[in-house]
């Protein structure tokens, strides 16, 4: 008779340990298994969060650990929330967040819809489209910097090929007006495949018989799209927006590589500003307060979004 894995594990357990385990309740054994994970969660997530909240009420500076730490109440929060530079960086973050999500959803869904049609080379195209997502943000930032070069960059040549004019007549990364759009373009290029994959999963989960029933009822293709495709893909699409929204709210690496927050501070997103306050100006207490503001914002948004997602799923 073949032995199952639990049987073999039971036989391999030393008698002393086995006797101890026999004396434990199911609940205690469950805690033994879950305990290490809870401990790690507390140590890595909860403790730093509580510590950050604590630091946000102090004037602590991480480069001057010998200096006495004073509790200054809500002064850090007051300074941040009356600082026009931080206000500008929040506006830059909003611009980046809104437009990347709009473009990624529109292009991602369209690509998924096209890929979902059965045609020759379908799998090859899927692989090619997904490639940008697999690259490191540092690599993407680096080669898009070359693509955006006014003299030798391909981007300017392609744009002026269609619009006419001198390729070196405009700078995507050097212009105050164009730099915010340049980071939107790169993030869209990189992360649209992610949205496409999630939408594709949604589209492939729609059973064919629903469309067949609609065909029998003589529903037009447009009607089928708006009454079958969109509602059934919506939970997937909302999930993609949630993931991209949270991710883009804390976008850092790609933008630092591309513009470094410039020109001026036009592309200085909240996370870049936060990093500067924390590790260049070493205002640890101040930056902790800033981090808490961002955390509460993302947490609040995610809460209402998950509620909306559950409602859509229940329909």
């Amino acid at each position: 008779m073949t032995q199952t894995l639990p049987d073999r594990a039971a036989q391999a357990t030393p008698p002393k340990v086995a006797r101890k385990i026999k004396g434990l309740s199911d609940r205690a054994i469950a805690w033994i298994f879950v305990g290490p994970t809870i401990f790690l969660l507390l140590a890595i997530n909860i403790f730093p969060l509580i510590w950050t909240i604590n630091l946000s009420f102090t004037n602590f500076k991480a480069n001057r650990t010998n200096r006495a730490v004073e509790y200054i109440g809500t002064r850090n929060y007051e300074r941040i929330l009356t600082d026009s530079d931080i206000w500008l960086s929040m506006q830059a973050t909003a611009h980046f967040l809104i437009w990347t999500i709009v473009f990624q959803v529109l292009i991602g869904f369209t690509l998924a819809w096209l890929i979902n049609k059965k045609f020759r080379g379908n799998d090859l195209w899927t692989t090619i489209i997904v490639l940008p997502m697999m690259l490191s943000p540092a690599v993407v930032g680096n080669f898009w910097t070359f693509l955006y070069q006014p003299q030798i960059g391909l981007f300017n040549y392609v744009i002026t090929f269609f619009t006419g004019g001198d390729p070196s007549g405009f700078q995507m990364l050097g212009s105050v007006d164009l730099a915010p759009w340049s980071i939107v373009i790169v993030d869209t290029w990189m992360w649209t495949p992610f949205v496409m994959l999630i939408c594709l999963a949604g589209l492939r989960s729609i059973p064919d018989y629903i469309y067949e029933a609609a065909e029998i009822d003589r529903a037009s293709k447009l009607r089928q799209f708006f009454t079958i495709t969109i509602p059934m893909v919506l939970p997937f699409l909302m999930l993609a927006v949630l993931f991209r929204g949270i991710e883009n709210f804390k976008m850092f690496d790609l933008v630092v590589q591309l513009t470094g927050g410039g020109p001026g501070s036009t592309t200085e997103l909240a996370s870049i500003n936060l990093k500067r306050e924390a590790f260049e100006k070493w205002r640890t207490g101040y930056s902790s307060a800033f981090a808490i503001i961002l955390f509460v914002t993302v947490f609040g948004l995610a809460s209402i979004y998950v509620k909306a997602l559950n409602k859509v799923k229940e329909r």
């Binding site: 929330l81 929040m90 506006q91 503001i293 914002t297 948004l301 209402i304 509620k307």
Partner: protein, 64 residues
């Protein structure tokens, strides 16, 4: 509308979650809007009140 206010008075989850959701959305809008600095100043308090309220009211009983 009267159903909404009745729900608020009876501490029902639905209407209170709606209030919390509106507060969070308003707070996020105030944080990121380009119109007035005073809105930015009060954005965090609004979002925080909304978020804490959301956590509390999600434990309220549902409906009648």
């Amino acid at each position: 509308m009267s159903e909404f206010f009745n729900g608020l008075l009876k501490f029902r989850r639905g209407p209170w979650e709606m209030v919390a959701t509106v507060l969070i959305a308003l707070g996020v809008f105030m944080l990121m809007q380009p119109f007035a600095l005073w809105m930015f100043t009060y954005s965090f308090v609004t979002t925080l009140v909304g978020t804490v309220m959301f956590i509390i009211v999600s434990h309220f009983p549902e409906g009648d």
